[in-house]
Symmetry: C2
Subunit: 194 residues, 2 copies
Amino acid sequence: MSGPTREAAVLAEPMRSRWSPSVFDAHHELSAAEVATLLEAARWAPSAGNSQPWRFVVAPRGSAAHAAFVPHLSRGNSGWVPRASLVVVSGCEVVDVKDPDTARYDLGQAVAHLTLQAVAMGLHTHQLGGFDKPAAAAALGVPDSVRLVSAVAIGVRGDAAEVSEPDAEREHRERTRRPVDEIAHDLGWRPWAG
Amino acid sequence: MSGPTREAAVLAEPMRSRWSPSVFDAHHELSAAEVATLLEAARWAPSAGNSQPWRFVVAPRGSAAHAAFVPHLSRGNSGWVPRASLVVVSGCEVVDVKDPDTARYDLGQAVAHLTLQAVAMGLHTHQLGGFDKPAAAAALGVPDSVRLVSAVAIGVRGDAAEVSEPDAEREHRERTRRPVDEIAHDLGWRPWAG
């Protein structure tokens, strides 16, 4: 099933409508102002001691950064990701960071803020880890002090008839999550019962 | 300055209004339904391969889990955190996880979704890493396969006259972030120019 499920319907927007399509419109473009707003959302995320360890490479489709990045996508991602209007490659500082685990956690928060801002703007996002990170870092000129972690494809939905069958079918996977009692616990790790 | 700054005003809700107060109302309580909705927001966050590595201990003020957790707060957090209506202690699976870095990143996303859902519900949140994680894990009965990462204090704002001066002043720290050209880059790590 594509799109949100009934269970998520209790949530407020933009969390309620967020999901990760794989068919982007390969002609849609984002304005510089829209890109700036997405980055502003990431910028104002909270972080441990306000350390803000997140770093991004901004790669709109058609840019030199985009051309440098896409050859390093995994085979499964090489069809659908380049169609998106924008790829934001994310990484975090790993030098002079108090706690590298927390830096990844903080980066996840910043990307979540960016993606939810995108949803609020009528866009869709789909995050991926499937690319050759050392090779992409070298191609993009990312310094050694920054470790790449993910990429975010951002855009609007396109026509499934324009993409390969596996990419079109990717959207029809059922959207599932663990039951809440597997993730929420009470004292003694008992399932949380409300 | 407390509350959002002018720069963040371009953002959509609930990102726009999110900030981290330190003075919570020590009498306010959350309903079980409200807590369930917060957990639902975390539950529907995206993760690498839908691995959902996030795990939570749910500790409403007055619960046995809350009593077990609060002795392990750092001195600076021991005054203001226990006043919040709810503490959600967060951790992630570290065993049988493809990539531990990504598990922390995914946990950060789930907590971001939870906190933004809270803001959308008229609540405030303040995350913290300042607690004795091994001791808190032991007191709460967290299994060895889960590493604690953060806690989230959740509630409504209280009266600053009821708290210590350092806790009241904590809210008046200026809210700052790095300029966007320090976090967003183009090819060759040039500052992103839009």
